[in-house]
């Protein structure tokens, strides 16, 4: 049915008006140009974008808006479009710029659409200002370049779109050799066939995560070598396209240190076993002949004293018996010292207040005999070996009681939080000692008194020091003659 001509014209006029309204309201710049390149239509956005009034644009050549560098080629592009008019984006692969009235350039994206009106073909171009997009692209590029680890950006097809210089260094390629290529070129041949599948599953559920948890990952370098790597994956959405941004870290060094650590641990275990055996031999096979000497000396003394043996002989025997007893004690103490390492338990949470209560209970006799008072402020729960911590506190309290002054001994225990450890103090009102001996007292078997007055092999503080150091702490002392003694040591906090 032939449309009514008048109706047509009216309808067309209405359509034209509407068309103009639509075009003017468009968020993109819209330019309509005839086959000679003359601008016949320009919308408000174009005015804003190029800083022209449309009256200045209508009737002028489109080349006015093209930067000088590209102006020569432009007519040829126009002709090409009109010969094969198809809706498409302009200048694929090229960076396009528009020239503003003030001479400045603006980066743009241009979409071209053929339009037929009144029997004539025009091109309707949509022009988008991509300054912001380029700025954010540039920002991404800078961030990626500045990253300390290798960064590589890959699109959904697995093509490399961005690399940083760390990647170049890591894999031995120049970026030109990588850009546009498939990421699979950096994947070792043995796992290459599986890689596209992994990429697909990533894009199916794009989340920031580490790649290949539980697996050892390797990258393939230009020279054919493989490097152990750790890979973090991050989904990236930009301009409606999906990418994955991968951070790649060479973990060769880390693997080497891990291997070294394992070796050292093994060595330590072996040395510990040796020590244990040595300590056992020490305790057993050394003690046995000592016992015989001691026992039979005592038997001699008890059986023959006064009859065959005179008083002098009795004293001689006593010396030998005492000596063997001391030797037995020394051997036991050495054993105890070595046990700090060989019988060490794994660290657990230990309440120091409970430990001190146990120590006090164990020292009940000594505390009673000396009329001692032990004042214990609230103590923290620490990370440690409960058996050894008991030894530690017990040794210190026992020492405080043993080396007392004429006054009844008073022992004061307190704790202070310092950084990520506890600083524990054990203060007494005992005899004290000259600070020039401060370092010696922690050395094994070093004593400041003769053995008749103060029995003991002198290992207690050496054991304390070993225990504190095993817990990663330090122990030190302050004292003065007749002014009491303050022992302080640090223990790790329970984290």
């Amino acid at each position: 049915m032939r449309p009514d001509h008048n109706f047509d014209k009216h309808a067309l006029a209405l359509d034209e008006v509407r068309l103009r309204q639509i075009i003017d309201a468009a968020p993109n710049g819209m330019l309509m140009v005839d086959r000679h390149g003359v601008i016949v239509l320009a919308n408000t956005q174009v005015e804003r974008l190029f800083q022209y009034d449309r009256s200045e644009l209508l009737g002028t050549s489109i080349e006015e808006l093209v930067p000088h560098a590209a102006r020569e080629k432009h007519p040829a592009y126009r002709d090409h479009f009109f010969r094969e008019p198809q809706a498409r984006s302009m200048g694929a692969g090229r960076d396009l710029f528009g020239l503003r009235k003030d001479g400045s350039q603006v980066p743009v994206e241009i979409g071209l659409n053929p339009l037929v009106s009144g029997g004539e073909t025009f091109v309707l171009a949509s022009v988008v200002d991509i300054t912001e997009r380029r700025r954010s692209e540039e920002r991404i590029r800078l961030v990626v370049e500045a990253a300390p680890s290798g960064m590589i950006m890959v699109d959904e097809n697995g093509s490399i779109v961005l690399v940083n210089s760390q990647i170049e260094r890591l894999f031995g390629y120049d970026r030109e050799e990588l850009l546009g290529q498939s990421i699979d070129m950096l994947v070792p041949a043995s796992v290459r066939t599986k890689h596209p599948q992994e990429r697909a599953s990533f894009f199916a559920d794009p989340r920031s995560r580490a790649m290949g948890i539980g697996r050892d990952l390797f990258g393939q370098c230009k020279d054919g070598t493989q490097i152990p790597v750790e890979i973090g994956l991050n989904p990236l959405m930009t301009e409606g396209e999906r990418f994955v941004l991968a951070s790649i870290v060479n973990i060769t060094e880390r693997k080497r240190s891990e291997a070294l650590l394992q070796e050292k641990l093994l060595e330590l275990e072996r040395s510990n076993e040796d020590l244990q055996q040595f300590a056992y031999v020490c305790s057993h096979d050394l003690q046995e002949p000592l016992r015989v000497i001691s026992n039979y000396n005592q038997l001699l003394a008890s059986r023959y004293n006064g009859r065959v043996l005179d008083e002098a002989a009795g004293e001689f025997i006593e010396f030998t018996v005492d000596a063997t007893k001391r030797m037995q004690e020394l051997i036991n103490d050495l054993l105890m010292y070595s046990r700090v390492q060989t019988k060490a338990q794994d660290f657990a949470s230990v309440d120091c207040s409970t430990i001190v209560d146990m120590a006090i209970a164990n020292l009940k006799l000594a505390i009673g005999e000396s009329n001692a008072t032990v004042i214990c402020e609230p103590l923290p729960t620490v990370k440690g070996d409960s058996t050894q911590l008991l030894q530690l506190f017990q040794n210190l309290i026992s020492n405080a009681i043993k080396f007392r002054s004429k006054k009844p001994p008073e022992v004061h225990i307190s704790a202070e939080s310092i950084g990520n450890s506890w600083n524990i103090s054990v203060r007494d009102n005992g005899q004290g000692f000259d600070m020039k001996y401060a370092n010696r007292i922690f050395i094994i078997f070093q004593r400041l008194h003769n053995k008749e007055m103060y029995p003991g092999s002198g290992i207690g503080l050496a054991v304390c020091k070993k225990i504190v150091e095993r817990h990663g702490g330090r122990i030190w002392v302050e004292s003065a003659p007749q002014r009491g003694t303050l022992f302080q040591f640090t223990l790790p906090k329970l984290d």
């Binding site: 003690q287 046995e288 038997l299 007893k325």
Partner: protein, 144 residues
Amino acid sequence: MVNQLKILLVEDSRADARLIMEVFKEEKIHVDVDVVRDGDAAMSYLYRTGEYENKTSPDLILLDLNMPRKDGREVLAEIKADERLKSIPVVILTTSQSEEDILKSYNLHASCYVAKPIDLDQFRKIIKSIDEFWFSAVRYPPKL
């Protein structure tokens, strides 16, 4: 004609064995003691083989742990695994104070575990308590 208790003392150290005997003598402990010096001899004695043909079953075994070749732990295991021997109480009398040894001995059904003290006076006290307990207070099963 006192019916004396028969004790088998398994102890490799002559000095230690002699010491026990001397203390028994001093403390006037009257028991009939036979001494063997290693695990193989102990089993021969108990099975009455070889030179021990004419022996009778002991009432109590005092057993040292550390002996060359077959040690006290093996002897204990063998005794308690044998129907004819397992009812004989075994008192471990040893120098070892290790927890492993103590646990193992009780697990293998030793009647009790005595660690020999270093000091002679302490040792005397222990022997006296063994006498009071094992040689007076305690009752023994009939001999097989």
